[in-house]
Symmetry: C2
Subunit: 412 residues, 2 copies
């Protein structure tokens, strides 16, 4: 009996650790012959593009490198399965791939879109009396999956964001001039990653002075009022703002649009950081700059949280145990027992509880002022960023797992 594993959605620092955990558990179980990696998510199953993982993950060093390599070594996709009633073709292709390679179990590491695939596939297999089973293993830096206490990948992203924001705070306060620095942080619809900058308040930083989340319904007049107040107290005001904030409505209420025109005459949309930069500069006339942390938030594995990487590996292994024991249509998740001492257990739930759903940052953890978060939130975040990965380095730089040996990839 064989097993297949795939990775999906946006990159994180922890998704390869989950692959490693799943791979190791499958090998250790003694029940599995081949462990296949499906190239580019579910697309690998559709196109019969699989790789025998035992032939590429061979040494202890390979495994250690997997733990410290960001992004998805198997590649990713954003492919969403159609409803089987409307278009059965992809399902048939997947079944024939599984049959051909004697794959009984499929583990899908991904976010809420991927859980939709877990739900649809498992339902199809059941309905058609197939012996195949499918299980979901969560990941996303956005931390916006329901049921689970947190998602693998989030802790490392939060550690990177807090560490980097502290460094930007230092960078922002060197000249003796008044300034406002707006730092735009990822989170498509939820403010978890932006909120996590509150951890800096526990190590002697007053900044970020203002933290704006999509869950807080903040308005332009209030933001300007907040900044005016902070400017009276601090020469360099630091604002953390989530990319998930409804920038159109902010811009509209400030009497501007979010559209710019580039040097080629093409229109483009400004993000919330840039829009706030402009609104604040217009109001106060001081030096204002906005900084995007960009993709570095999701791939800075040199600063990964050991807790996050260890948990990602453990939940990958738990997923394989579950699917081998006969479970299907489930997503593995973390249930937190306590903040301090930090303790979580891994459990499972119907993937329908997570598929296509989002978990917002709790309103009860936002201060009444709507520009900061509570101590309870700090207690939630802190355990997730603890510990550092001891990196394998060469020439002073972290080494990464070399996926070019997969052959199917080009030589990047």
């Amino acid at each position: 009996m064989n097993i297949a594993i795939a990775q999906s959605g946006g990159p994180t620092c922890a998704i390869n650790a989950s692959l490693l955990g799943a791979f190791r558990e499958a090998v250790k179980s003694g029940k599995v012959d081949a462990v296949f990696g499906s190239i580019n998510g579910i697309e690998g199953m559709l196109n019969d593009d699989l790789i025998n993982l035992k032939s590429v993950i061979r040494t202890n060093k390979d495994m250690e490198l997997l733990r410290q390599t960001p992004s998805t070594v198997l590649g990713s996709c954003r492919f969403k399965l159609p409803d089987a009633e409307k278009d059965e073709e992809p399902y048939k292709k997947i079944c024939s791939c599984m049959e051909k390679h004697m794959i009984e179990c499929f583990c899908y590491i991904g976010g809420n879109d991927s859980m939709d695939t877990v739900v649809k596939l498992s339902a199809y297999f059941k309905k058609h009396g197939k012996p195949y089973r499918v299980i979901g293993i969560p990941k996303t830096i956005d931390n916006d999956l329901p049921i689970t206490d947190h998602t693998p990948g989030f802790g490392s992203a939060a550690k990177y964001v807090a560490t980097t924001v502290q460094e930007i705070i230092r960078d922002s306060s060197v000249y003796s001039i008044d300034s406002v620095t707006v730092i735009e942080i990822m989170g498509r619809h939820a403010g978890w990653l932006t909120a996590s900058t509150c951890m800096l308040h526990t190590i002697g930083q007053e900044a970020p002075h203002l933290i704006y989340l999509p869950e807080a319904d903040v308005t332009v007049p209030q933001i300007l009022e907040d900044i005016k107040r902070e400017r009276a107290k601090h020469q360099a005001v630091i604002v953390a703002v989530s990319e998930g904030i409804d920038v159109s409505s902010l811009a509209e209420s400030a009497g501007v649009t979010t559209a710019g025109v580039d040097a080629f005459g093409h229109k483009f949309q400004n993000g919330v950081g840039k829009v706030l930069e402009q609104i604040i500069a217009r109001e106060f006339g001081c030096k204002v700059r906005s900084i995007e942390l960009n993709v570095m938030q999701r791939c800075s594995s040199h600063l990964a949280s050991k807790t996050d990487i260890d948990e990602a590996e453990a939940i990958g292994a738990a997923g394989v145990r579950a699917v081998l024991s006969g479970e299907t249509g489930k997503m593995m998740y973390f249930r937190r027992i306590s903040d301090m001492p930090y303790e979580v257990v891994i459990d499972m739930t119907d993937a329908t509880e997570c598929a296509n759903l989002e978990k917002k940052f709790p309103k009860k953890w936002i201060t009444p002022s709507k520009n900061n978060v509570t101590d309870e939130a700090i207690g939630y975040f802190l355990p997730l960023i603890q510990g550092d990965i001891k990196l394998i380095e060469k020439n002073g730089l972290p080494e990464h797992f070399n996926r070019s040996i997969f052959g199917v990839f080009n030589s990047l």
Copy 2:
């Protein structure tokens, strides 16, 4: 007899280590009573805004924190002294500050602008028979100071840039679509930091596939030709480009301007990354994105090079020894004895050799193709990024030196 130290120019990860080295050496010498920190560079001497460093750097932990805190804890400035013949007022103010506080020696940590101050001040002191002495201690992430083999701050910036570019390479290759990623790297007029990404080629990375420096006179047709060739070999092409490239002439030759219009109707200038992104997208129609590493390049002390920090401390100490022994108008610098084993000695030169001058990346280290650098360059860069700082952490985050105790600052 007292001594004063000031920091100037843009932030780096190493400038506080030079401050520490200078402070420690002054205390150790037994010749110095008070060690003053001049707040915001030379402006502190002009405004009599000094702080007694012994009262704020008190414990071993304070010193360790200084080593791992980026940016300038004494604040910085961009103030340039006028010619004394045209405006003697600032010189008189500085002299009266030095007289008042019995300061005989002044150490200025900074770049080529700061060396201009060293030159002018030392000349003024000599001409007017003042017993004061002034010495320059180099720093800049741009690595563009003449005479010195390299500048403190550069090694840490290069380590950050190479590490982060490797992570962006991983992030760029997850989807099975053709793409080009343009990474814009700091360096106002010189390509040192961009060139240093070549170090990735020594750890199994083919990327960056193209490295463009201001020293190479590259043209748009050649860039497009290069990218076409790399696209034939790689699904995800990675381009490292220096911000110092003459973007106006690139844009002009591509038949576009660099000017955009923001949502407020304000014009702004696109950087080279954005302009290349647009030129490449127009040519190839594939996914193109540009990423700016932004201020993180100069302040990511969590990833500092131990070699850089140790050297920064050592050259700060050497500066104090020199000024105490009677030297003036000099800049301390590194002379490299060998690449492997790496060995440098600290020497001094007339600050006139460096003031207002820039050292470009050597043309002989650029390949004839103008899109890459030679192995000799790799041998130059590698020693500078070796070793990691063992960070003092609290709650999983690096602690920084708390400059709010200086009192003169607001509480950032």
